[in-house]
Each structure stands twice: as structure tokens, then as C-alpha cells.
């Protein structure tokens, strides 16, 4: 097991280095002068020259890359060209908002997707199976930005049930400010007993989280259904039925446990995908997360931010994969032995 993990971590480092090379090269070969971004739109030639020297842009690109790597190993991701704030701080400010949204969304996806899949598998080819298929296909195929706007129109404009966007109501933010512990509003307000803010931030989370969860819900439901059907046809299930194990126990203990492997992989990948999936949703619900942060950066080719966020996302994606693999290896010894 230890060897398995070490091998996977070795791969991880290799992937990240490769990614560094590619993003750095890409962001530096596309035309556009970073010094111009740094100074804003009315810079004079001599100011541009000074900034180029200051940022080391006069050096050859491979050397710049070496400097970047050196700083990176010291935990320094550089500073944004646009805002001049350190990228690491920018990520720290924006990441909790995205993660909170993702955690809530994946929870919703699993809580709805898994039971839906189990029921569909149990009642294969009945009306409830067809309905659940329709629901799942709708979930995966409706574009999230469209769904987001639909929710806004229905739940904000027509029904007035949910806020249109943002993380917290301004008035609540002023009267019941959330103490900053982790940046996760739900956790911070819960930990400090700030019930008003807890209620308000949960309320703000609903629409964006459901939107974000929709794709994963559909995928998890379909995945659970198909593996469940396979498992339910296994001999040991028939045996269990024969010896009189209750149907509930067969479904949720014998069946689901064995079907959970692929579902878990799917959920893990969905979670990792969400980090990029939030971009549209953050834009529409003006959610101040990583998506908002990098969208602004991409529009200006603010390369330190693009690099930093890309690296973080790759690291996140690869790590989630790793964790999922380890979890599966723990659940299923066959994977370990291979």
C-alpha cells in the first residue's frame, strides 16, 4: 500500500512539473505585453521599460521560468499584474467560497443521485426507472449557465424565495458580521454561533449549489443504477435472497456496498470537475470564488494569476484522483493487489 501511494505521488510531481512548463510557455508565447497590463492602459514607453526590468521580463523566457520555479518552491506564486496583490493571497481569499459551494453541491448530488440510482436499479424498466432516467439525462445535459438563469428568473424574480446571488446579504453582513476563521461561511457562522448569518449564507447557497450539483446528480444516478443492476445479478445476491435476507438489506448492504466503488470514483471526479464547473455559475451568481478570480485574469492575460490557479486546479484534480484511488484500494483489495 505504501509503495502504491509513493508511486502515485511521484507521478503527481511529474504531472505538475509538466503542467508548469506548458502553462508558462503558453502564457508567455501568446502576444501581449505583461508590463502593459501591470501599468494600466495609459503607460508611457519609459514606464513600460522600468516595469519590464522590475518584473524580469527583459530576461529570456527559460530563465524567467527558472526564476518562477525557484519562487514556486519557496511557496511564492508571484503577484497579480492587474491588482498587484500576491496570487497566494488572492487564492486564499477566493478558494473557500468555491470549495464551500462545491462541498454543498457534491453532498446534494450524492444524497439525491445515489438513492435515485438504487431505486431505478431495483425497479429496472418500470415507470420510475424511466422517470429517473429522464431526470438524470436532463440534469446532465442542461447547460449550467442556462439553468442558473432559469433559477434566477423563477426563484428570485417570480417567487422571490431566494436571493439572486452573492454569499451574504449586505445588511446581515453589517449587523451580524461573520468572524473570519476558515473563510467557509457555513462553518464560521456555526462555530461562532452566529445563527442569523448561518441561515442567510445557507439561503444564498441554495440556488448556486443546486445548479452546480445538477450535472453530478445525473451522472451519479446513472452510474449507481448501472453498477447496481450488475451487482444485483451476481450469484451472491441470489444466494442471499435464497437464504432469506431482507430485500432492504440486500439493496443497501450487500448491493450498494459492492456498487459503491465506481460511484465513488464518479463522485470524486465530479467533485474535481466542479472546480472548473463553478466558473459560469460564479459569474452568474456573482459568487466571489476562484472562477471570478481567474476569469478576470484570463481576460487580461494576467499570467501569474492564471499560472497559480491552473497549478492549484491541477494539484486539486490529481490529488482528488489519488485520494479516490486510495479509498477504492482500501474498499476493494483487488485494486491494491494489481
Amino acid at each position: 500500500m505504501a509503495l502504491f501511494i509513493i508511486k502515485r505521488i511521484g507521478w503527481l510531481a511529474f504531472v505538475l512539473l509538466g503542467l508548469c512548463v506548458i502553462t508558462f510557455t503558453l502564457s508567455r508565447v501568446v502576444p501581449g505585453d505583461p508590463a502593459a497590463v501591470y501599468l494600466g492602459s495609459r503607460a508611457k514607453p519609459e514606464q513600460l521599460e522600468a516595469v519590464r526590468l522590475k518584473l524580469g521580463l527583459d530576461k529570456p523566457v527559460p530563465l524567467q521560468f527558472a526564476f518562477y520555479l525557484r519562487d514556486l518552491l519557496h511557496g511564492d506564486l508571484g503577484s497579480s499584474l492587474r491588482t498587484h496583490r500576491p496570487v497566494l493571497k488572492g487564492i486564499r481569499d477566493h478558494l473557500p467560497a468555491s470549495l464551500e459551494l462545491m462541498f454543498v453541491a457534491i453532498t446534494i448530488a450524492v444524497l439525491i443521485g445515489v438513492p435515485l440510482g438504487v431505486i431505478a436499479a431495483k425497479r429496472e424498466n418500470t415507470v420510475s426507472d424511466h422517470l429517473s432516467r429522464l431526470f438524470a439525462v436532463a440534469c446532465t445535459s442542461l447547460p449550467s449557465f442556462w439553468l442558473a438563469m432559469l433559477f434566477q428568473i423563477v426563484f428570485f424574480r417570480w417567487l422571490g424565495l431566494f436571493p439572486i446571488g452573492g454569499r451574504l446579504d449586505t445588511v446581515v453582513g453589517l449587523t451580524n458580521p461573520i468572524e473570519h476563521l476558515t473563510g467557509f461561511y457555513l462553518f464560521d457562522s456555526l462555530a461562532t454561533g452566529n445563527w442569523t448569518a448561518l441561515r442567510d449564507s445557507a439561503w444564498h447557497l441554495c440556488l448556486p449549489a443546486v445548479t452546480l450539483a445538477s450535472y453530478s446528480t445525473g451522472l451519479i444516478a446513472r452510474m449507481t443504477r448501472s453498477t447496481m443492476i450488475e451487482v444485483l445479478r451476481e450469484d451472491y445476491i441470489t444466494t442471499a435472497r435464497a437464504v432469506g435476507v431482507s430485500e432492504k438489506e440486500i439493496l443497501f448492504l450487500q448491493g450498494l456496498r459492492n456498487a459503491l466503488g465506481p460511484t465513488m470514483t464518479t463522485a470524486g471526479l465530479c467533485f474535481a470537475f466542479m472546480l472548473t464547473g463553478t466558473f459560469f455559475i460564479e459569474l452568474i451568481f456573482f459568487w466571489p470564488g476562484l472562477g471570478t478570480y481567474i476569469t478576470n485574469a484570463i481576460l487580461l492575460n494576467d499570467y501569474p494569476v492564471i499560472m497559480g490557479v491552473t497549478l492549484l486546479m491541477a494539484l486539486f484534480y490529481v490529488s482528488v484522483n489519488l485520494v479516490v484511488d486510495i479509498l477504492i484500494a482500501l474498499v476493494d483489495p483487488r485494486v491494491r493487489l494489481k
Binding site: V30, G32, L39, I164, G165, F286, P288, T292, L299
Partner: protein, 461 residues
Amino acid sequence: MANMYEPLIWVSPPGSAQQFEPALAEKWEVSEDALNWTFHLRKGVKFHDGGSLTAQAVKESFERTMNLKKGASFILSPIKAIHAVDEYTVRFELKSAAPFDRIAASAYAAWIISPASVGQPGEWFDGGQDAGSGPYMIESYKPDEEIIFKKFDAYWKGWDGDHFDRIVVKIVKEATVQEQMLDAGTADLGNRVPIESSRTFNEKECCERLSGPSFMNYAIHLNTAIPPFDNKALRQAVSYAIDYEAMLDIGLGGLGRVGVGPVPFGQFGHDENLHQYKQDPAKAKELMAQAGFKDGIKEPVIFTYAAENAVEKAIAPLLKENLAEIGINVEIRPMIWSAQWDMVKSGPEKAQHMAALLWWPTFSDPYETLYSLWHVEEKPAWNFAYYKNPEFDKLITKAYATPEAAAAQALYSKAQQILVADAPSVFLFDVERPVYKRKELQGIVINPAYPRVAFWYGMHK
């Protein structure tokens, strides 16, 4: 910025009796040779950090900006020395004559900051600190999310009458979302709704659209250094080929004015009597033939625009169509802004043939616009057209050093006549800046000299 900081004087909105109105300075005067400008400061003005406005504070503010050498500090380059004559009088001594009143009213590098903050590095301000004397100050700041401003109790104009105690700025990029918030009343003021909604916005019961000139304008610059646009008749043909009204409609939903010369309507230096090109394909074709392109230009000419600019993106296909009508084949290339600028600067041979540019002045004087965009430059920074005309240069330099407004205007008009006749650029349209608001919100002033500012102090419900 303009709600937290104040300059010495403001440029008045169009239609005012005076060109300028007092802010931190109550009165000001200029010496006959326009080299010495004396400002008499308002007494009893406090900064947000408790400091007081004095001549020394003004001197240090300007010197700080000049020493930073960043951003728009170049507009202060005519300053030779700043003298604090007494506690409330400050005198600016210039190297050469310049309209310092317009410089002092700039929205970019002429804010007065409290003396205590002068030594602070730029990062201190990036961190959400402020040190102005304006009516509002920052209460809290969450990057990419919201900024809350609260009133500054000791503001020199006082808080009698109807004013807001707090202003909440939510950062909402999606135009459709802004519109919904206005409709529902969760926002009182917005700066962007989808262009289709903008046209019919005044039909709403809850809301209305205001608009006013902005000093921003769009032009297409032709590379005059290389063929084919080194040919004056051909450039004029291009100016006659464009359907200006349709451009304005597609680009801005009609919110603006077809451009008359390079200086936007309402700004000092604008001349309504300049020759106006109108779409006239027959005349354009005649000029084409005169230029020696009777059969049109098959080899594509390259047109670039800033990909992030929705207005330029919208007009690009129409430009292609308009020029195709007179036989010029245009290849459209969207580029991110800094890349487009790099291409312009890469030398006349490698530069694009045509480039779209949105321009606005750093301070409200035509000299900066005319100088930056069309003055002879060895290595162009902003002279997108690679335009060279010593006579034009001479006229604008002379106009800048002429303190008397009518005389300066005459010189600027003459320079612009030359420019329009040479047609190095197609002057598309001047932008009107829209503001979308709830009907109950009152007291909004749109001042084209400060196109990105909503002045909150005068607003009330």
C-alpha cells in the same frame, strides 16, 4: 475614487456657466504668461485620517504622484516646482505654458491625499485604505465581491439635507443579472444591462435610463506608413465608405453621437463645423479610382480590434461589409488588447493595416488626445496611424501653450481640419454613457470629464 478623494477643482458638466467649479480650492488665478498658477485653498477641510488640508499637503500630494512615476503621472510633467506660499495658498510654477486648470481637475493624477499617507507605498492603498477628503470612505472591502462605503462625518460640505449614510457597491459582471436586480429593487443603480434591454429600458415602470456624453470615442486608425493606406485618396475613400449611423446603432444601441473630428462632443476643443464624412459609395469609388485602385484591393487588409471590447466586436462585420462594397477586402482579427497594442508598436511594416481604438482623455484638454494619437513619433506608443505631419504638430503645440481659450480653440480647430482632410483615422462615434436606475433614486449628475464616476453625495431617494 471621486467619492473618496477630491481634486483642487472640478471640470463642470456641460451647460454650466463656468468651465470649472471649485473643490478643495476656492479660487485660483493664472499669471499672464500661464507659467504660474495660484490656488487659494478652502479652510477647515479635514481628511479621513483627521489631517487638515494645507498648502503643504497639496504640495506633498502632487510631489508624491510625480515621484511615483506611475500611471497617469505624466500629465504633471509640466510642473517645475510647487510653492506653499502660506498655509492656504499654493503656487504651481510650470516649465512651459500649459492649461494647468484642466490638469488639476484630472480624474487620474490630481487627487489630494492626506499628508500622513504620503510616505505609504502603493500597496497600502491596494489594501483598502484611503486618505482622501471626499464625502465617503471605505468601511469594508471584499475583493471581487463588494465594497461598502460610509459617510465621512467631518466632510466639509456637511450632511444637512438628503444624503445616503452608506453606499454598497456589489460587483456584478453579468448584465442580465444587473437588470434583474434593478427590476426587483435589490439594486438602485447599475452600469450595464444587455444591449437589447437597454433600447427599451425606459418602458419599464420601475426604472429608467439616463445618459450623457462621456468624452470617450471610438476610431479606426489606418496605418499610413505602408501601402495601401499611405495613399490619402484611398483613406478618404474609406471614410466615405462607412455607414456611421448603422455603426452607432450596432455598436452602442444608438447611445452616442456620430463622431465629428477626433475630439468628442462637449469637450473643450471639439469643433462641430469640421468636415463630416458621410456614407457615399459613389464618391468613395471615385476616390478609389483616383487613388489607382479602380478594381478594388484583393489582397486582404488586416483589421484588428480588442477582443474584450463588445462594441468593437459588434461593428467589425459591418466594417468588412462597408469596405467590401467599395472593393476593399478586410480580414478581421480579434486580439486581446495588449496583444493588439504590441502589434501596433511592432513597427509600421509588421503592424496591422487598420486598428480599432477606444480613447478617452486623461485630463479634459484636447492636446493630450491629439498629441498622443497623431503626433510624430519615432516609435509610436499611441500613434496607431503612424501619422506624420509637422504642421499639425506645430499647431497643437502652439494651442497647448495658449492660455486664452478662444485663441487655443482656433488653433485646435485648424489642426483638426488638417487631420480630417488627411483622413488617417475614421472617427466613428462619441460614446454616451448610460446609467440605469430605479425611478426613486434622484440627484444623479453625469459629468463627461469623469466618465467612470457616479457622484453619490448628491443622490437621494
